[in-house]
Symmetry: C2
Subunit: 241 residues, 2 copies
């Protein structure tokens, strides 16, 4: 059944080099913060041209494994940050034409759990970030763009407060997908804003008081509202002006 021979894919030099360096990083033989040798030096070490090295470096850079601190010239080993990674994921999802329902189901799976853990594990600073995002939504509720950003920030803050990096990183791409849908919804469904304010308030309060069950159920309600809002918005007959 299985083929006798696997197709061999030739790896161009730049890819091989990128892989070698990547393995070094993952194996912690190159550690976060370490500065990479100069391109010229790398070219010498690998015995290839600098152009080839540069192409290899580009790969690692876009993966977020290499980066440079502002205004610095030398590259250093970096840990890929959630927002960077997640932007790739959400772009991929966008290109796969995910439906709102798919997005919603995923949010429904992740966000309430994140809220639940946030209630038991949040640090004061995380709580503050979350409360502040809620306050910002309330304050800028009239400015759609700012409001949407505040909603996203609220979700991000809850996920961060969950103390679970995996949940946080799983959740991050959802935000980017949510933004456009939310923008339309918030514009066309009049009651949406008030409901968001209420839900955020309840969730924040529950997390503050460390009531994990309440945090979870309120987050569930909150997310359910999104679905209702989306249905209202996409039903032309019922949608507000």
């Amino acid at each position: 059944m299985a083929d006798l021979f696997a197709p061999l894919d030739d790896h161009p030099a730049y890819r091989q080099i990128a892989n070698v360096i990547e393995r070094r990083i993952v194996a912690r033989s190159l550690r976060t913060g370490d500065a990479l040798p100069s391109e010229t030096d790398l070219a010498r070490q690998f015995g290839v041209n600098r152009s080839t090295i540069r192409e290899a470096i580009r790969e690692l850079e876009t993966h977020g494994l290499l980066g440079r601190v502002r205004g610095e010239k030398r590259l250093r080993v970096t840990r890929p940050e959630p927002d960077q990674v997640s932007s790739g994921v959400s772009r991929a999802l966008a290109l796969h034409d995910v439906t709102f329902l798919e997005l919603w189901e995923a949010m429904m799976a992740i966000e309430p759990v994140a809220a639940q853990y946030a209630a038991t594990r949040r640090t004061p600073a995380q709580l503050q970030a979350l409360v502040r995002a809620a306050a910002r939504f309330k304050r800028e509720v009239a400015d759609t763009a700012a409001a949407v950003i505040a909603v996203v920030d609220f979700f991000t803050a809850v996920a961060a407060a969950s103390g679970n990096q995996v949940l946080a990183l799983s959740q991050a791409p959802l935000n980017l997908l949510l933004a456009p849908a939310l923008t339309r919804m918030i514009d066309r469904v009049p009651q949406a804003r008030a409901r968001i304010v209420e839900a955020q308030g309840k969730i924040a309060a529950a997390i503050k008081l460390r009531r994990s069950e309440q945090a979870r159920t309120w987050m569930e309600k909150h997310i359910r509202d999104f679905k209702r809002g989306h249905e209202l918005e996409s039903m032309p007959s019922k949608a507000g002006k």
Copy 2:
């Protein structure tokens, strides 16, 4: 409070070009499958050197937005495939030193939901893939490496059968993280294999019969087992030889 001037970050040409092309792709102005102009041609169009174009292309290629079909020379626009994207995510998570608990919590949030939807939405082909992975685990249960792969494939198949790309893509990175932990566990906890066989059987049966609640609860039990297995394995006193 707010600074008067924001730090301006200069974008090198290769990044600008990458962004321009990326926007074209996301906006569907360049559609999946379309062939990209040759590097020389792109260099002419953008008015830069070919080396610069190549660096830009490398970025898009590693994002999975460009690729070439086997043995072909010209690049074409590609949709980023889940495994490609998720490998980036799991590498990121690995570098952030996620704990088994974090991974487990995320699995607990996602996998049961995926199983639940799979029960209602799976196609015959998806069901077959899932059943086959379970059978493979049973068959190769003695070969640790093969068994671990079968477990991962089973999860992947369930997620695919959920008919939700967002869940599937959120779940994919978890697999890669699970593999090493599972390898240790399966080796050291004697009863693990039998329990996995049982759980996979129950889950597959529930999905086959479209019993979504059963699928969900059995998946929950299955995942809970992992936690127990991990605790046994990491408790030196109790671990099997």
